[in-house]
């Protein structure tokens, strides 16, 4: 079994509170992983640690078989070139239009993509999320659901080996949520990338994810398939996966 990304006994303290406390997460390569947990359980921090945005106080982050060196900016950039992330609060650049946002990782990375290829990849990324023709709009002209779809397109446009989605359907209606989960599953199926998707919406996660990880108080309380999770001895795991406590 090959793992695309792992956190090994990661510990992180913020403002005196341990927010990650011996977090062991292993993401099997080429699968779609669901990350589930109560609010403030540490899901976003786990994702930011995997995306090399949050250096742990102790423990290791292993990406594509190599331990990430958070002190080596050059090596971090090499690793980040293989990661795409959609943030919980969308984080679209408000000084760029939609096309500029999606093109950003292609144009500004260490190895810029040729302009002709940028245009075609942006076009196809926007078409994939159902926003063909919206490239000239400013982010503030879009609805919440459209902004999230743009963020998904930006995370996926580099065809990264590891894609991280943090609550991509937060605050959206059920129809749009189902559509967005479907889009992410399509992106994963087409690219074969490793995808990790954090959400509270376990019903819809269950339709697309291959494996589940339950975060509880800064550590991984369960890893496995949904049926295994629903039969887990820990009532907290069963409850977080949508089963009976």
């Amino acid at each position: 079994m090959t793992f695309a990304a792992e956190t090994r006994n990661v510990r992180k303290v913020l403002s005196g509170t341990p927010v990650l406390d011996g977090c062991d997460l292993a993401l099997e390569a080429g699968r779609l992983h669901g990350l589930v947990g109560a609010g403030s359980s540490g899901k976003t921090l786990v994702l930011k640690t995997l995306a090399t945005l949050l250096p742990p106080d102790s423990g290791d982050v292993v990406l594509f078989g190599e331990a990430a060196d958070f002190g080596d900016v050059g090596r971090l950039r090499t690793v980040r070139a293989r990661i795409g992330m959609q943030f919980q609060n969308v984080a679209l650049f408000d000084f760029l239009d939609v096309a500029g946002n999606v093109a950003f990782p292609l144009v500004n990375g260490d190895v810029p993509v040729p302009p002709g290829e940028v245009a075609s990849r942006v076009e196809s990324a926007l078409a994939a999320v159902g926003l063909a023709g919206a490239g000239g709009l400013a982010p503030h002209e879009l609805s919440g659901g459209m902004q999230r779809r743009v963020a998904i397109a930006r995370a996926a446009v580099t065809r990264a080996a590891l894609m991280v989605f943090d609550d991509p359907t937060g605050g959206l209606d059920p129809v749009t949520s189902s559509r967005i989960f479907g889009l992410i599953a399509d992106v994963q199926a087409a690219s074969g990338s490793t995808v990790v998707l954090a959400s509270h919406d376990t019903d819809r996660l269950a339709r697309v994810c291959h494996l589940f990880h339950v975060v509880d108080r800064g550590r991984i309380a369960f890893t496995g398939t949904l049926p295994d999770g629903l039969a887990h001895a820990d009532p907290a795991v069963r409850r977080l996966l949508g089963g009976d406590a």
């Binding site: 995306a51 070139a81 990661i83 992330m85 943030f87 984080a91 679209l92 990375g109 930006r154």
Partner: protein
């Protein structure tokens, strides 16, 4: 009270006071390296220069225009107490504007108008995860956000200072002519301006032009939380940048005075 309490408190104060200058130095060095490694694209640089100039030009013109006019009034009032000879009023104003008020007051205006804008822009990008999105897109936020602003602000501080000095001297000349009948030929005298004055003005422009965006950007990067954090970042930016301008003014003027006598 423990014997070590006072030295510890003093040490903690010194360390906390030294932290912002250390952070500015680190950001300045990273910006300089970014400018050398990958100079910003021309369109992004020109857009920043336009933004900085456009944001400040009216503000600077009004402030320095009134300052020039007030300086002539005050100068004439002081001169008339000694002897009613106003022939040096224009020359003195040009000297003072070139070496002191032109660069320094313009820089304070830029710190207020442009510095706060930089701090607010970067601060709001920090609290909305846009800076992290930049990092994960493999883009160095310092290279993308700070370096072009430092270069643009450096250039525009020179441009705005020259413009500000011209406006101040013109306003002063107008007041001198209309109120005190000082002829333009007498007023526009360069006899008190030498190379040392020009150098002093230029050195100050360069120092302020680099310091303001660096201090503002550093304040923006420290923003946390939400809109309140952005508000604190802009306040910190204007306070620190204004203080830095006044402090650098004193240091540069002292050094040039010691060197040139």
């Amino acid at each position: 009270m423990e014997l070590t309490a006072i030295p510890r408190a003093v040490g903690a104060f010194v360390l906390s006071a030294a932290e912002p200058p250390r952070a500015w130095a680190v950001l300045l060095s990273r910006s300089a390296r970014a400018l050398v490694r990958r100079p910003p694209p021309r369109d992004r640089l020109l857009s920043q220069m336009f933004d900085i100039g456009n944001r400040s030009v009216v503000f600077v013109a009004i402030t320095l225009g009134f300052l020039g006019a007030i300086s002539v009034f005050q100068g004439v009032m002081q001169a008339s107490r000694v002897l009613p000879d106003y022939s040096m009023v224009g020359a003195t104003l040009i000297n003072v504007m070139t070496r002191e008020f032109g660069p320094t007051i313009t820089a304070l205006m830029i710190a207020t108008r442009v510095g706060t804008g930089i701090a607010a822009e970067i601060g709001s990008m920090v609290v909305t995860d846009q800076v992290e999105a930049m990092k994960v897109s493999n883009t160095d936020p310092v290279e993308y956000l700070v370096a072009p602003r430092v270069l643009a602000c450096l250039v525009m501080t020179f441009v705005l200072t020259v413009f500000a000095v011209l406006v101040a001297v013109a306003a002063g000349a107008l007041v001198g002519y209309l109120r005190f009948q000082i002829g333009f030929a007498t007023f526009f005298s360069m006899r008190l301006v030498d190379w040392a004055d020009l150098w002093e003005g230029l050195v100050k422009c360069a120092a302020y032009g680099v310091a303001i965006p660096v201090i503002a950007a550093e304040s923006g990067f420290r923003a946390s939380g939400g809109s309140e954090g952005v508000g604190w970042a802009t306040t910190r930016s204007v306070v620190n940048a204004s203080f830095a301008v006044i402090f650098m003014d004193f240091i540069i003027a002292s050094v040039i005075y010691l060197v040139t006598g």
